[in-house]
C-alpha cells in the first residue's frame, strides 16, 4: 500500500509512465485492441482506453478524461445518455450488510434486481452475483435397526467395540447438501432454508492479495472493487475466493441496450468487457449516494439490512448488537462485513 501512495505523491513517476506508453510499439498492439471494433470513434476510444493507467494511479485530469471517454463510448454503444460517476468514497463510513436467514424465502428477487441494476451480461450465459442455496431442514434418518450395526461388525468386544456407528453418515437438520438450481412453483418450499451468498466484502480479502496487478483492492468504505480496465483476466482472485463471489466474463458480454442501466459508477455497474472479472460491490453507484443496494430494495420480506458499521444507530449495528449473528466460513479468517443472523 505504501508503494502505491508513494507513487501517487511523486508525480514524475506518472509522467514517466505516460511518456513510456506513448513510445511503446503502438502498431504491434493495435491488432489485439482492434478486436473489439465498433465504429471509428468507439474504436479510437477503446484504443485510448487500452493505454490508460490504473485508475488509482491517474492524475485528476487523466481521471476526468477517462470518465468522459467512457461516457461517450457507452452513450454511443447503448444509444442512451450514460453517466459514469467517479464519486469518491464517503467519509467515516464502513459499509456492512446483514441478512436474516430466518426470513429469506428463496424467491431470488434480489438476484434479478441485482442483474437489472448492475448491467451484467444477460444471455449466453447470464451472470448473477447472488447465489441462493437451498437447504433441507429437519431431515434425519436415524433408525433403530442400525443401533448395533456399524464398523467394525460386532466382535469379541461386543457392541462396545464399534468405532463408526450405524447411524453415522445420516445428515441431520440443515447440515445436508445444498442446491442452487431449484425451480419450484412456489417459494418458500416446505422444510427448506435459504442461504443467499454474494461477495462478503472481507476485511482481509484473499482475492486482493492474489491479484498480480492490484486491479482489485479494498476501497476506503470497505468494499472490494475491481478496475475493469486494469484486470488482466488471470482469475487468481476467483481461485482465492472461498465464497465463489467472483464472476468472469468468458465472452463478450451480451447486454441489450434496452436493459442497460445508464446510471453507472467507474468501480460499480458500468458495462464490462470480455475477459475481465466482476462481482458484487454493495451497489457502489447507489451506496456512495446514500441509497440502499438494489438487492435490499427488492427483498419482499425485509431480510436484508445495510448500513454504516461505524454508526451505532444504523440497522446493521443494531443487529450486530442484539441478534444471533455469524460470519460465513469464519475459520478462514477473512473477516467478512456481510453478516448472517437469525431474526
Amino acid at each position: 500500500m505504501s508503494d502505491e501512495t508513494k507513487e501517487r505523491e511523486t508525480g514524475d513517476v506518472d509522467e514517466a509512465r505516460r511518456d513510456l506508453l506513448k513510445h511503446m510499439g503502438i502498431a504491434s498492439m493495435a491488432g489485439a485492441v482492434a478486436l473489439t471494433a465498433g465504429s471509428a470513434d468507439a474504436e479510437a476510444a477503446v484504443f485510448q482506453e487500452w493505454f490508460q493507467s490504473h485508475y488509482e494511479l491517474m492524475s485528476e485530469e487523466e481521471k476526468q478524461e477517462c470518465i468522459e471517454r467512457l461516457e461517450t463510448r457507452y452513450t454511443e454503444e447503448y444509444g442512451k445518455k450514460t453517466t459514469v460517476s467517479n464519486a469518491p468514497a464517503l467519509k467515516d463510513v464502513l459499509f456492512g450488510y446483514a441478512l436474516d436467514i430466518q426470513k429469506c424465502i428463496g424467491c431470488r428477487t434480489c438476484v434479478h434486481a441485482c442483474v437489472k441494476e448492475n448491467n451484467q451480461t444477460r444471455y449466453d450465459p447470464e451472470i448473477q452475483w447472488i447465489k441462493v442455496l437451498k437447504m433441507e431442514k429437519g431431515n434425519f434418518s436415524f433408525s433403530e435397526e442400525k443401533l448395533d450395526k456399524g464398523y467394525p461388525e460386532t466382535d469379541r468386544l461386543g457392541n462396545f467395540g464399534i468405532q463408526v456407528g450405524g447411524n453415522a453418515y445420516s445428515p441431520v437438520g440443515v447440515s445436508g447438501e445444498t442446491e442452487r438450481y431449484y425451480e419450484p412453483e412456489k417459494v418458500p418450499e416446505k422444510d427448506s432454508f435459504y442461504f443467499p451468498v454474494q461477495c462478503q466484502q472481507c476485511e482481509k480479502p484473499p482475492c486482493v492479495k492474489a491479484c498480480p496487478v492490484r486491479a482489485t483492492f479494498r476501497e476506503p468504505n470497505g468494499v472490494v472493487v475491481i478496475d475493469y480496465n486494469w484486470c488482466i483476466g488471470c482469475r487468481m482472485c476467483q481461485l482465492a475466493c472461498p465464497y465463489e463471489a467472483r464472476r468472469f466474463n468468458w465472452g463478450e458480454p451480451n447486454l441489450p441496450p434496452e436493459d442497460m442501466n445508464p446510471k453507472t459508477h467507474y468501480y460499480g455497474n458500468r458495462p464490462r468487457m470480455m475477459g475481465v472479472m466482476e462481482k458484487c460491490t454493495f451497489c457502489l453507484q447507489r451506496t456512495r449516494e446514500g441509497r440502499a443496494p438494489a438487492c435490499l430494495e427488492a427483498c419482499p420480506v425485509g431480510a436484508r439490512k445495510f448500513g454504516n458499521l461505524l454508526d451505532p444507530e444504523s440497522d446493521v449495528r443494531k443487529i450486530l448488537a442484539t441478534k444471533k449473528v455469524f460470519r460465513f466460513k469464519e475459520d478462514l479468517n477473512t473477516y467478512p462485513k456481510f453478516f448472517y443472523f437469525m431474526g
Binding site: 442452487r180 498480480p212 484486470c231 488482466i232 482465492a240 468472469f248
Partner: protein, 417 residues
C-alpha cells in the same frame, strides 16, 4: 561482430539441415501450428468462452500443461548437476543440452500462461514501472519473476557456450561457473514457486497441502528425465553426437527413485486426508470414488496410480533399464504421458469439486482448447528440435568459425591474383 553474425547464420542454417525424417518431423509440427494459429485467432476474438473453463472450474488445460512444462524445465538441471557438481566426464558436453531443454520447456510454459489469461493484450500491466506489479503479495508475480529469470539464465548459459565453442575460445570460468550454479539452484525454485501458486489458496483443499512442492519436484524428477532419455536416445541414434550408456543409466535411476519418492508423497497425502476423512478429503474422495454417481475422474485416478506404481516396478528391473532400444523408451513414454495427464485429470479438474459452495462439476475440454494446447506443444518442440540440432552441430565440431574460413580464403584467392 562479424564472428557473431556468422555464428547466428551458421547455427541456424545447420539447424534447418536434415534428412527426410527430420523434415517430416518439422512438417508434422507445422500442421499443429497452422491449425493452432486459427484456433488462437478464434480465442483472441471470441474470448475464453470457447474453452471448457467455467466459473466452477476456472483453470483449464493451459495451466495444467504449464505445470507439466515446469516439471520438465526444472528437471533439466538433473543433466547439469552431474556434469558440474559431480564432475562426470560423460556428461560434460551434455549439460548444455539440459539447458536447451529447460529453455524450450520454460518458453512453452510461458506461452501456455498467456493463453490462460483473459486479456493477454493487457499483460503490460505487469511490467513494474509501466503498470503495477503486486510483488511480493501475489504469488503469481513470484512465478513470473522466477520463470523469466530462469529463461534468461539458460538463454545466456547455452548461447554463451555455443558461441565460445564456435569461435574456438575457452570459456570465461569466472563468468560461466557462477551462472551455471545459479541456474542449477533456480531450476527447483521455479517448481517450488509454481507449487506455492497452487497451495496458497486456502479454499482449494486438495492443493492447500505442504507436500505439494515435494509432489511437484518428484514428478519433475520422473517426467523430466523421461523426456530427456527419449531425446538423448533419438540424438544418439540419428546424429554423430556420442551419448554414453552410463548417462542413460544415471537418468533412469533418477526416474526410478523419483517415482519412489512420489509414491511416498502420495501415500502421505492420502493418509493425512483419508484417516480423519474430514471435508478436506472431499476432492480426493471425488477422484477416488466419485460423488453420487458423478465419477468421470475415477478411471483416471486409478489408471494414473497403477501406471505410476507399474513404471516404478518395471524400472526396478535392470533388464528394462538396459533395454535402450525397446523397453526403456516405452516406459519413459508411459511416464511422460501419465504425468502429463495427471495434471488436468487428477491435480487440477477434480480439485475444483466440491466448489466452496459445495458444487461438484466435470470439465469438458473443447476443440479450440485442445488445438491451442497442441499449438503450444508443437511450438515448443519445434524450437527445441531446431536448437538441439544447432547445438549438436556445435558440440560435434561440425559448425565452427574455422570451418567457414576456407570458404573466405577461396574468395580471397579469387580476388588477389
Amino acid at each position: 561482430m562479424q564472428k557473431l553474425v556468422s555464428f547466428v547464420i551458421d547455427f541456424w542454417s545447420y539447424a534447418f539441415k536434415g534428412g527426410p525424417k527430420y523434415y517430416s518431423w518439422l512438417l508434422f509440427l507445422s500442421v499443429f501450428i497452422l491449425v493452432g494459429l486459427y484456433t488462437t485467432y478464434l480465442q483472441l476474438t471470441e474470448g475464453l468462452i470457447l474453452i471448457g473453463a467455467t466459473d466452477q472450474i476456472t483453470w483449464e488445460l493451459y495451466i495444467s500443461n504449464f505445470i507439466f512444462t515446469a516439471h520438465v524445465a526444472a528437471a533439466a538441471v538433473l543433466v547439469v548437476i552431474p556434469a558440474y557438481m559431480y564432475k562426470r566426464k560423460d556428461m560434460k558436453d551434455l549439460a548444455v543440452l539440459g539447458e536447451i531443454i529447460a529453455l524450450g520447456f520454460v518458453t512453452t510454459g510461458m506461452v501456455l500462461v498467456v493463453y490462460h489469461v483473459g486479456r493477454p493484450d493487457r499483460l503490460w500491466h505487469m511490467i513494474p514501472s509501466l503498470g503495477y506489479f503486486n510483488f511480493p503479495n501475489s504469488m503469481l508475480t513470484f512465478d513470473v519473476v522466477v520463470l523469466t529469470v530462469y529463461m534468461i539464465l539458460n538463454l545466456i548459459a547455452a548461447y554463451y557456450l555455443f558461441y565460445k565453442r564456435y569461435v574456438g575460445e575457452p570459456l570465461n570460468k569466472i563468468f560461466y561457473t557462477p551462472l551455471i550454479y545459479v541456474a542449477v539452484a533456480w531450476g527447483p525454485l521455479i517448481h517450488i514457486i509454481t507449487a506455492a501458486v497452487l497451495s496458497s489458496n486456502a479454499r482449494m483443499h486438495a492443493w492447500s497441502t505442504a507436500v505439494l512442492p515435494f509432489a511437484f519436484l518428484s514428478m519433475a524428477g520422473a517426467s523430466g528425465p523421461a523426456v530427456i532419455i527419449i531425446i538423448f536416445l533419438i540424438i544418439r541414434k540419428y546424429t554423430k553426437l556420442q551419448i554414453a550408456d552410463s548417462v542413460i543409466d544415471l537418468l533412469s535411476q533418477i526416474i526410478l527413485w523419483s517415482l519412489g519418492i512420489l509414491m511416498l508423497v502420495f501415500a502421505a497425502e492420502f493418509f493425512t486426508a483419508l484417516y480423519p476423512s474430514t471435508e478436506h478429503a472431499a476432492s480426493l474422495k471425488y477422484s477416488m470414488f466419485g460423488h453420487n454417481g458423478l465419477n468421470a475422474y475415477v478411471p483416471w485416478f486409478w489408471s494414473i496410480m497403477i501406471l505410476i506404481a507399474g513404471s516404478f516396478i518395471a524400472l526396478l528391473n535392470p533388464k528394462i533399464r538396459k533395454s535402450y532400444d525397446r523397453f526403456l523408451p516405452a516406459v519413459c513414454a508411459v511416464i511422460f504421458l501419465v504425468i502429463l495427464l495427471e495434471k488436468p485429470y487428477f491435480l487440477v479438474f477434480p480439485a475444483f469439486s466440491p466448489s466452496p459452495l459445495g458444487e461438484y462439476t466435470v470439465y469438458y475440454p473443447t476443440f479450440v482448447e485442445v488445438s491451442n494446447v497442441l499449438f503450444c506443444w508443437a511450438y515448443g518442440f519445434l524450437v527445441l528440435t531446431l536448437t538441439l540440432k544447432g547445438a549438436i552441430g556445435i558440440l560435434t565440431g561440425e559448425v565452427t568459425y574455422t570451418n567457414r574460413v576456407p570458404v573466405s580464403k577461396e574468395a580471397a584467392y579469387a580476388i588477389s591474383p
